[in-house]
Assembly symmetry: C2
Homo-oligomer: 688 residues x 2
Amino acid sequence: MPDFTDNLKPASPDGTTILSQERSQSNVPEDELAKHLLSRNDFLGRQQRILQVLEKDPLFNKSKQMNLSRPERYQLGLARAKKLRRYQDQYRWDEEDVSMSQYLCDDVSPYMVHYTMFVTTVREQGSDEQKAYWMPRIERMEAIGCYAQTELGHGSNVRGLECQARWDPQAQEFILHSPTLTASKWWNGTMGRTANHAIVMAQLLLPKSQGSSEYVSKGPHPFIVQIRDMKTHLPLPGIAVGDIGPKYGYAPMDNGYLLFDQHRIPHSAMLSRYSMVDKNNGTYFQPKNAAVVYGSLTYVRAQIIMHARLIMARAVTIAVRYTCVRRQFSDRDSNDPKAPELAVLDYPTVQIRILPLLATAFALHYTGEAMHRLYETTRAQIDKGDFSRMAVLHAQSSGLKSLCTELAANSIETCRRAMGGHGFGGGSGYIQLNNDYLSKPTVEGDNWMITQQTASYLIKRMQAAVSGKDKPQDEIEEHCRQYLSERKSHRPDQLRIFDKDEDIVEAFRRRSRDQTYRAHIERNERKRSWNSLLIQLRKVSHSESQSILVANFYDALNSKDASVSPTLRAHLSTLFRLFAFYTMDNEARDFSKANAVSEQDLDALPSKIQELMAQIRPHAVKLVDSWKVPDFLLDSALGRYDGKVYEDLFNRAHRLNPLNEITFNPHYKSEEIVMGGGDDLKKILAKL
Amino acid sequence: MPDFTDNLKPASPDGTTILSQERSQSNVPEDELAKHLLSRNDFLGRQQRILQVLEKDPLFNKSKQMNLSRPERYQLGLARAKKLRRYQDQYRWDEEDVSMSQYLCDDVSPYMVHYTMFVTTVREQGSDEQKAYWMPRIERMEAIGCYAQTELGHGSNVRGLECQARWDPQAQEFILHSPTLTASKWWNGTMGRTANHAIVMAQLLLPKSQGSSEYVSKGPHPFIVQIRDMKTHLPLPGIAVGDIGPKYGYAPMDNGYLLFDQHRIPHSAMLSRYSMVDKNNGTYFQPKNAAVVYGSLTYVRAQIIMHARLIMARAVTIAVRYTCVRRQFSDRDSNDPKAPELAVLDYPTVQIRILPLLATAFALHYTGEAMHRLYETTRAQIDKGDFSRMAVLHAQSSGLKSLCTELAANSIETCRRAMGGHGFGGGSGYIQLNNDYLSKPTVEGDNWMITQQTASYLIKRMQAAVSGKDKPQDEIEEHCRQYLSERKSHRPDQLRIFDKDEDIVEAFRRRSRDQTYRAHIERNERKRSWNSLLIQLRKVSHSESQSILVANFYDALNSKDASVSPTLRAHLSTLFRLFAFYTMDNEARDFSKANAVSEQDLDALPSKIQELMAQIRPHAVKLVDSWKVPDFLLDSALGRYDGKVYEDLFNRAHRLNPLNEITFNPHYKSEEIVMGGGDDLKKILAKL
């Protein structure tokens, strides 16, 4: 309905004018940078192509979905998942296209686990016969599947799973059973309402000897199990399955629970590529070495880092654009009472929260790229079963997963708070982003726990270097030897971090080795218990991961095949230094203890950081523009490309808010809630 | 519907057994501690009394509300607000009782701003005549009001408000007008759907001289304005008002927008206790000094800190109980393959995230108490118009608001992540807590911005101390002089923080003075611009606030009138040291630069912290129990007093989740979403 607000404009200068000015003042070569960042797998072209499909489909309009209830969010999620699947058929999308469509849709799909863990497990762990039976049904999506591993009482420690698969030699069947409440499968995506099949990880129980009534466990094994009726979609008898309820994020995903009551499944249900039970005599065949998993884990973790960088780019895009448009207070030192208000991003207290994160997005990018390249170059080795390179890659990837998802998760909230009041509002574009992304520090290996893997590897290499026998096994051990020899022969010179970028790289490396050495002493010489060292081990892992991020960033700018224009290289070098110095300043004492950086240089870091931020400030908008995050994905009034911040906020409130369609009775003596609504209180009570 | 899951129990030991053991192993005098913490205003008795009313009323049952849509959340909020108001009449609740009922209900009330800013402003800024007219209507809640200050384009900088109140001498009326979109009132609670009146802060525009058509602004002034029809509750002509839409938290609150189109209000609308416009000749009377505000601001900030400590206690209660019940992995150094899994809280990497926060809740408590006492003892002075003590109190309270709300806000997310997978689930009790509390770092003074007030005051005192004239104005200046004289005459001895608790207090004080001195040099000697120092100023403020927290904690345990039993004192002293050392360790370099603590002692902090955590670990459950946070408020499966973690999680999923009442059609070729639901896709699309 038109009204007097239709003619109102924001006070000038408006956001569009401001962002145009910001863009025209910068020499950042936006398109060159976008190509530089987003060429892998033709990301940019693909984004453009899929975007065109989704943007014109009203089902993928995001601006009002925050008003929906949880049950409605699942329904919307399912509708979108189906539509995307139909588009896949229609446009013959390949796997990368499908990923892109899910990324742009930005709602986790209730089909997600079907597409990932379910199909992968059948493909990798099914026998040829099983695959021949299942794969066509899976691809046609008659069998819609999930992956039931985690239990109510058991997460990271897979050996502790309680769900049982007991072999019944007489019937030649397995009996799935949940002996306790904590044995309930829990958290498993796609299971709650969507799937009709599940891969169930269960303790394989076999008779101790033939004919014995005593059973022994052979550990967790995968079974493929139908869980719902193919017609009615209701749970089969002996099975309790459902959705676990609302969570912090992932509203459209039906994370589920699943219990079995002496539920019988055929012998063929056990996925038997690597291990199997002989149908006739119950003999068990051992699984082969599972090291093959390492390879794909590294790939998955490279993907996690590449995704983390996009999350950070997205958070920072919104924050940079909004804090340029937003004005607040004039300069306190100005004598002009009519001085205009400053852009919020001109305050160092806002810069220090946002600009280092912008630099971090780039840091993550180069390490994600490096991991992909490493994975690709060593793939041939892996396929031949040579995992020597993979061990170090895997060890590094644990620490990197931990650090990078932590950085990305924290960046959203840091940016949000830097945006003041409107950061708390629904127009920020951060609410669902944050709620969904905050799962990442926990899933795919808890961020605190998996740092042990990295630290353990590093300490072993340091121990080997100390013993000094044989040739060094990898470059880490080589560095350890170098560190030890410097340590013995002389105190190495402190590095000139403000003069030479490569000295920054060396400072981080020396500090990481120093942390490793200290942990090695505690563990191997002082014989401290592992658990008592856990806090220190996390620090060892983070130090190494920071060192990798800095080194990859440096290498990308300075290797021979780094083909970037001098203008771009100058901007990237500023970002490199900002990332490195900011990281160093937060843990300055380490660098002093490692005799890597002088106290004087460490003292100078804060002002150096402020200088670098001042250099980046005029280019901030174009630097975030280069990440090419489409408005459709941002779904943010504050972060729009065209700067129409206030127009969009007002539109969402005044024209799109369903609450404003209802008039309420505010008087406390009346039980009526909606004006003329009658006994609406009863309706509310029924939902509690 | 009963099924086989009804008979299942969690694997043993179950949570109830575990928490009983935890409780029986500790000598923490729970009741003494509870009284020690929660006696102000009979908090405990009041909590018990109000709890009994709410617990038995199904309208206040929280366990399913996360499933509701935003519009439903507002309706529920309004229904609860009305009910609480009726209870207030019924049980003759006083103001503290009402606060307690809102605290326990834990949903922000749509009436909230009516109860607070609206009534306070009329009371404090209305003339006697205005109060006589309005107060009875407000108390009867015929006039339901809000407070419209913040605008779409203007928050902290109140002078920048755009909304106008132009005096029309002919008609003897004011004309309220929103000249731009950014002039729209925005964020104002209770305004979106509930209020029929508003206090509107608008630039008072008066003719430059009598009869002139040129207008000058006298700055923002308050007007009381009817905004909705008293019968239909629809907006009055010339007014656009509504709810701004979903936010990060505060779902039941109707934060609103409000615009005026040349809307006329009578002369009597301007609240005129301090400033007024003569109806007949348009003469303007200046507002008196507004320093009276400082007093209540200090009170409000003491309340914010007391609230922050309860938030932390709540977050930590859940985390401690759950991480005791939760088991994961057996000891890596154990040779026993059947060794039981360890309680997650036994891992130092979990302790380091939770136990320092437990200690921090106590630290906040003692400073909140100290601020309340200071406010009370200086109140007589304030009432006489003597604000000399208030200046320092106010300066300190800004920094403390910033630090304490930051600590509390971060504590929720830190605890959540420490709880692994279930921390992401709806049973954590953290989701709404976090979403709501995250407003606090921004409201009542943005946490980054207001640190300038503290730093500015400190630098002025240091400057006065350096000039050394007259007597010191307050204890801060006295400390500054002491710092300067030590600095001149000799390098003071480093402090013995591991031997004497008072040396810890002195170390924090010296470090804060050192930070202040450095900032003073930059600002007053090197003449650096204010804005270029903002990052450093925040550090100055935080250093001082940390010093205050440490000093008040120490004083509370060591003053003559601290009447705690020796057992309790021992526990509190451990918590004191943990808080102090943990805080110190995070910024260790400062303490070295200030020559307060030796490098050797700083190096020893991590292991000292780990020792202290090991001492607290066996008492953790009883220490959190002592905060007496009722299960009703926690609304957490993970944090229940009785430890029935898994039983409750399963109950919420299997029996309380409305999504499980619907069966879906999962096949992608069908547009049907709900089995047999027909064209339900249209219903979804209509809501987008």
